[in-house]
Symmetry: C2
Amino acid sequence: MKNMEFNFDTPKDQLLEIIEEKHSQLEGILQECQFTTWLVFLRETAANPDPVQNLVIGGDVVWESAFIFHIDNKKFHKIAIIGDFDAEAERNKALWTEVIPYTEGISSILSETLNRFNPSQIAINYSDDDVVADGLSHGLFRKLSRYLPKMQERFVSAAPIIQRLRARKTKTEIDLVRAACELTEEINNEISEQLQPEMNEVEIQQLFHQRMNEHGVLEAWERDACPAVDAGPDKEMGHVGPTTKFQIQSGHTLHNDFGVKLKGYCSDIQRMWFFGSREEIPEELDYAFETVHGAITRAAEFIKPGVKGMEVDQIARDYVIKRGFEEYKHALGHQVGMKAHDGGVILGPLWERYGDTPKGIVEEGNIFTLELYVKTDNYGMVSLEEDIVITNNGCEFLIPRQEDWICIET
Amino acid sequence: MKNMEFNFDTPKDQLLEIIEEKHSQLEGILQECQFTTWLVFLRETAANPDPVQNLVIGGDVVWESAFIFHIDNKKFHKIAIIGDFDAEAERNKALWTEVIPYTEGISSILSETLNRFNPSQIAINYSDDDVVADGLSHGLFRKLSRYLPKMQERFVSAAPIIQRLRARKTKTEIDLVRAACELTEEINNEISEQLQPEMNEVEIQQLFHQRMNEHGVLEAWERDACPAVDAGPDKEMGHVGPTTKFQIQSGHTLHNDFGVKLKGYCSDIQRMWFFGSREEIPEELDYAFETVHGAITRAAEFIKPGVKGMEVDQIARDYVIKRGFEEYKHALGHQVGMKAHDGGVILGPLWERYGDTPKGIVEEGNIFTLELYVKTDNYGMVSLEEDIVITNNGCEFLIPRQEDWICIET
């Protein structure tokens, strides 16, 4: 049998490199947030992971484990308190100023260690609105409150730390997301050559899954819906799997929403095909494409460090409405990184389900999607999605964007 | 390039079958626990999953989603309240008595739906001691408390439900864990033929990873330590990766701790090799092997539905001490299923880090590991691990256990 490589995890050396980059961002971020102390409290992460693990620790822990980042008279302490079976692995990473192993229980050593610093606030991993800053389970929160009865009043959300740390992609991270985008486009191009009339959505998705297997990469979100495949005018796009009911037909569109996980980082891209020659595209479809494309252009021209997420969404939303379409029922963009939905600031409207995330500020090094759809009367939905990185004064598309329909002559 | 199959996820049809089996267990379990209402509250599960997802829902959700199981005048309600983009996928599963989509926010419809039933208690997914019953993040808990201000006093831990549901493996699940064990043993046997003096631990682990890739399966826990590979007398076993420092040598042992994830279910098995003929094995090693083997035998003969986890651990622990060894610094056994550490009852001592889990009762259909080590003075550690399923009056080993050293003539 052929020796296949799995390429979906960050290689160990590269992960450690990213974690070192993140640790070096962290001291400044703590000061900026006016926190002295961040406590990452984990257990059995293979069964119940915390999204920050691969940002600041790398790998799993088995027993209850505490990772303390603390600034004290300008000294930066980084302490790992872990089960003795995990201790050697942690020491080998050479990330920590102290590694403290325990055997029977963590409570006393955790309490003693924090008492050394006696911090006025302790940031822990919960967040009402940001899923990737919300890694502490409620049961672990209760435990922590019992272990540190005198300190539980000092617990505050670590979301400001985690959001900055996660959102300010390092050069290594940006290169990894770009590589995932490039592979996504490569697979899209390969599949373009195989598309034929009467193929149904399920068959098309299978072609994608086959290519992903060959490249040893995973889906960036649930496999049933990655890629989402939507053929023809009657398919409601969204997070729903492909069906055998809808097929490729001459004069119809095909849409996908596709991302891969390559070396631990994700892409998230939507593309649209038309079956027929460029000249056969109905004016209604062209107008819709120009609207979606134009809304992305306007948002990309507007976005830069310092603007609010909601302001970027509004630019695109206003444009769609001005062009006579119903507004899209989702946010214009989310961050992309280790996860396809990487948390933090959202480019979205102030709807309940987005909480305060659209009020957040866009920063250099952030990677966002720009995505939206419009509905035509006769030809179904038109939807595109691009991935951008924020530069010091604007943004760049990570890979060339879709400028026109991909026409497949039938 | 060869078309590789990824075999680590449960095939969609089989997952739906398991979820249907679990749904049919659930009505009885709710009654047994004297709960009327279980609320599973999720969001963005691709970034922050809840371990119960694949037991009762199957697949991911994007927006905040509530799955309500409620018994009312003997009617069993199963209600999914989900973002409208997820609604069709949920309807297609045909699992729910009602699917209620929303667009802007879940709070009012969630509150109205629960008010229809006005339950005196609402079980939600937190647990101090059981990681797989602790899927609700603290941030989501806070949100839920705000959404349901009049009901938050009624929140109780769903751990009794989740533990039963997860631990009572259905026939489909037992077959899947057995298949993972069989593949683990198959790979062990294949590697046995390739082992040669002077191979170091890292090289040996690479052989395993290559075979896992060929079979399209994933590691059952962190890849760096799966399999754990321990060569010779000076290696401290534990959750630590292999090193280039320790190599296979004539007259020495080799140990691994290995599990695969095949079709969504895990194995967790330890094996030991000796390099030399059967006759060359030092008496000290043989005595240690007999002790570990004998402790497993005694635990397996004792275990049956109705005993407490801690009682089973005590049998093995006493035997090890009686034979003159220091007691092992971990629990004798944990459950295995979708996760290598599948939560619930632990066969362990009453140490702080195991909380109340060793007090739990063993039930028919549970799958446990039986694992322990002893330390010899001159030849390093001897450690074995078997996977068993609890029957109506005892237990069965899922695959034939290791009865003697695997001797590799050098």
